[in-house]
Every structure is written in C-alpha cells, then in structure tokens.
Symmetry: C2
Subunit: 278 residues, 2 copies
C-alpha cells in the first residue's frame, strides 16, 4: 500500500492510501485516522462503512469522528464503498447500483463478479493489510456505518461471530431484501433467487440464528429514506425481539439522514465501541 | 429573509436563509445554527467568516462547530464570502478575485462597487436583520474566521471597537497589503492608491492605533500558504508587540490550512469566545 496524503488532525494523522486489491481486482483507495496514541503503541480499530454515493472522504470530512478517536485512542478505517475504475462494471446513470454502491456483498453474477467482493474486502483483505502495515492491534476491531454502510456493519458482525468486538449503525438499511435499494442491488449482484439474498440481510440473519453480544442503532425519525421504506428498522427490531438478540434502537426525534445526524451521535458510538475495544 | 433549509443537529437547528441584501444589491444566502438553548431564550452569536472559494456551507459541514455551539448556547452565523449572481462582477477563471473572494471590504472601484460591500454586509446589515428575526441577544456577538475570513474577523473587530465582545482567527491573511492575495483583491476593489488599503489590513490597523481587548490566532506551521507568504502572522505579531496589543498567536506544529486544522482547535475558540459572550 502507498500513502498518498497525510493530514494532521486532533494530534494524530488522517492518512489516505492506495493499493492493488486482490479480491476486488482493481486499485482501491481508503483512509485511516491514526490517533496520537498510535505513535507509541498499537491501537484498536473502528471500521466505518459509508453509504451510497460516498467515497472514503465523506465521513472523514463531515463526521467529526477524529476528535473522539483521539480521545479514546482508536484508529478509524474508512474504506471506499465499491471497487472503482474504467474496467469495473458500473451503471453510471444510477446512484444506487454499481460504483459507489457495492452494498458490502460478494457478487455472484456477471458483470459484477470479477470486482464486486466488498464483503471479503472489508472483512478480510483490508484488516489483514492494515494489521501488517500500521500500528493496529491484530484482531481487535469493531465496526459501524451509515445507511448502506450500516447494513454493511450489521452483516459483517452477524456473519462473522467473534470477529468484531462490537457493532453499531446509523440509519442502516436493516432489511434490504424488502426495500427497493436492496432489491435492486441484490438482484443485480446475487441473482434472481431471493433465498440467496437472505445471507446478506441483517434481519434475515438474526431470524436464522446469527447472534452478536449487543447492537446499537441510531435512526432519525425525520429521515426521508425511513419514510420511503428503504431502512425498515422496525423489521430489524421485530427480528431481534423474536430471536432474543439484544438491540438498542434509538429513534431520534427530528433528525434526518445526513451527516449532521451522524455528527450529533458519533460521540455516543465511540463511547460504546471503546468499552468493547479496551 | 426566507428559510430554505432546516436540519436538526446537536439538539438545535442548522438553518439556511436567503434574502435581498440592500448593501450588496443582490440576493444573499447564509446559514445560522441555533443551539437548543435558543428555543426558550435569546442567545449570543458567533460570526464565522469563511475563506476563499467557500460559501456558507463549508464550515457548517466540515468544521464540527455545532457540537460546541450547543454546549455553550451560542448561535453561529455563517455568511457567504461575496455577493453572488449573474449580474455581479466576477473573474470566473480566478479563485482569488470576484465571487467567493469578497475579502470583507467595501469596494470603491468599478466594476465592483455596486455589489462588493461585504464589510457593511457582515458587520451591519446581517446582524441587524438577524437580531430582529431570530432569537439572538441584540449586540452580543463575537467574530472569528479562516484565512480570508480570519482577515475579515480581525478587521471587523479592529475597525469597530466595542462592536464585538471578542475576536479570534484561524490562519488569517494577517497583512494583506503585503501578500499576493491581498494585493490582487485590494488593487481591484480599492484602487491603485496603496494608502487606501491600510484601513482594511489588520497589521496596519494595529500599527495605526486600533485596539481590542485580546486576540487569539491559531496558525499551522505546515500550512502551504504560510510558506507561500500569503498569511504573514509574523508581521501581525510584530505590529501587535510594537503597539502593545494583546495577541495570543499559537503556532501549531504539523497542521495545514484545511478544515482538519480548524476542527482540531475550534473547541478552544468556542471556549475563548464563550468567556466574553456570557
């Protein structure tokens, strides 16, 4: 991996890197915030998965995360949201399919299969790379994200028990098999057999027995995509209740889907993850 | 004034407005963050003046200010950086002159005079409007800003003694008559007579007797524009030392000119201004 930018913030460094991804078969760009504590010691990592249309830049610029990462001595990893490049399949006229919309699954359908392996990328390739190249404590990591990335965080934790110390999400797409965004991407990436989709859906995973210690979800009740039926936190709550999965779902009155919502509650999420990472 | 957007953040509301400016002779857009305390009481205001290329959106999105405004019960006013519109003079191929580069002066030269009156706009028209329309305590305000806006904050406070409770700046253009950005804008807006420029230059104002109680300035020592000779904080320090003007100039090792620098130190600036505003 090659460092292409380094900016000092809150006593640490916000770095951007590029590398040739073996699982996505393309060059990938990502950012890592290394808190000041990483100068002298290895630190745990919190993975942030961003939503539709984002790159690694949105959260690092708009989220206000670095202050809390520095306070708690936690690195933040900001992966990209899909494979990228001229030879990577895309639907340029759509924001919700193709590049910037990888949905954190491993595609099984052409033309997506050669590159769209974001689940393996964020859960296996990227942690292995970073734990070998940066001052991160091997294996000590948690995960969170927003919208499509909230979905990603939930399925990463639920599909890989024990891999993440803790998981949280902001306005996640919590039951993608039942919403337009999820149906569009899962149909394209995973094919017409809807039963194959359930292995990539947080609500279905909980219903079929997947478990983590606890889950924290914040959801604004003025979120336009909540009202459009894209997020479905009630389906996830129902699945968790039926299965006995611990879930703290906080409906936040008046908040929308933007980074202004995320920046309001990110301090709570860092405190939540810090308890598990220390 | 007309509200065109309202987003909940940190318990308060980040609102955007548009109005017909009498001094700029065009429609102007600005944002105000009203902290939760403004629901029940009038609150003091901190004016934020942004830098070259910015609109009212940069700081409200990237600065992480709202958390501290909510903590201290202070409203933040984010004006635009120049008059705007198709009939407003501009140099579209330049980022450092014309629209988005108003430099917080009142232009005396054509074609700039009809619209470029940003000093009167941010110090008189906008406060009068906001104190009549929003829950702000009349006359209780402070000012800060970044780069061109740091210059703006310093001259607003120095030219209008008693108008602002306190003033601070991030990487201000501290001696514009002596740097390329300032020479370009002052020559265009104020004409060839350099003696007329000094009334709009913080270092010259201090040298000629202008005084405020105290000034806080943060400056990154890895700031490319510092090294290009655009900012000249040493000139400002020399002027303040010679004149007996209190100045706390903090050279911050390793920090650049970006909002990652600002977000690191904005908490300190809110604490500084809160002491004067309460």
């Amino acid at each position: 991996m090659r460092e292409i930018e380094s900016i000092k913030e809150c006593g640490g460094y916000l770095n951007r890197y590029t590398h040739a991804s073996a699982v996505c078969h393309c060059d990938m760009t990502f950012s890592v915030y290394l808190p000041p504590q990483a100068r002298d010691d290895k630190v745990p990592a919190l993975y942030w998965l961003s939503g539709l249309t984002c790159t690694d830049d949105n959260a690092r610029t708009k989220g206000g995360f670095q202050r809390f990462a520095a306070r708690h001595g936690i690195a933040i990893v900001f992966p990209d949201t899909s494979p990228r490049g001229d030879d990577v399949a895309d639907e340029p006229e759509r924001y919700d399919l193709g590049q910037a919309a990888g949905f954190y699954v491993n595609a099984t359908q052409n033309p997506w299969t050669p590159h769209y392996a974001m689940f393996d990328y964020v859960t296996r390739e990227l942690p292995a790379l970073l734990e070998s190249e940066l001052p991160l404590i091997p294996g000590i990591k948690s995960i969170t994200g927003h919208s499509m990335g909230g979905h990603g965080a939930l399925i990463c934790a639920l599909k890989l028990p024990g891999e993440y110390r803790s998981v949280s999400a902001f306005a996640p797409i919590a039951n993608p098999v039942s919403c337009p965004w999820g149906e569009g991407c899962f149909g394209a990436y995973l094919g017409d057999d809807r039963s194959a989709w359930e292995a990539w859906d947080a609500s279905c995973l909980v219903a079929s027995g997947a478990r983590v210690d606890d889950i924290l979800v914040d959801q604004g009740d003025a979120d336009e995509f909540l009202h459009d039926g894209q997020l479905l936190p009630d389906h996830f709550q129902t699945a968790c209740d039926a299965a006995g999965q611990s879930l703290t779902l906080r409906m936040q009155p008046g908040y929308d889907h933007s980074y202004h919502f995320i920046s309001t509650f990110i301090e709570d999420h860092f405190e939540y993850h810090a308890r598990y990472l220390k």
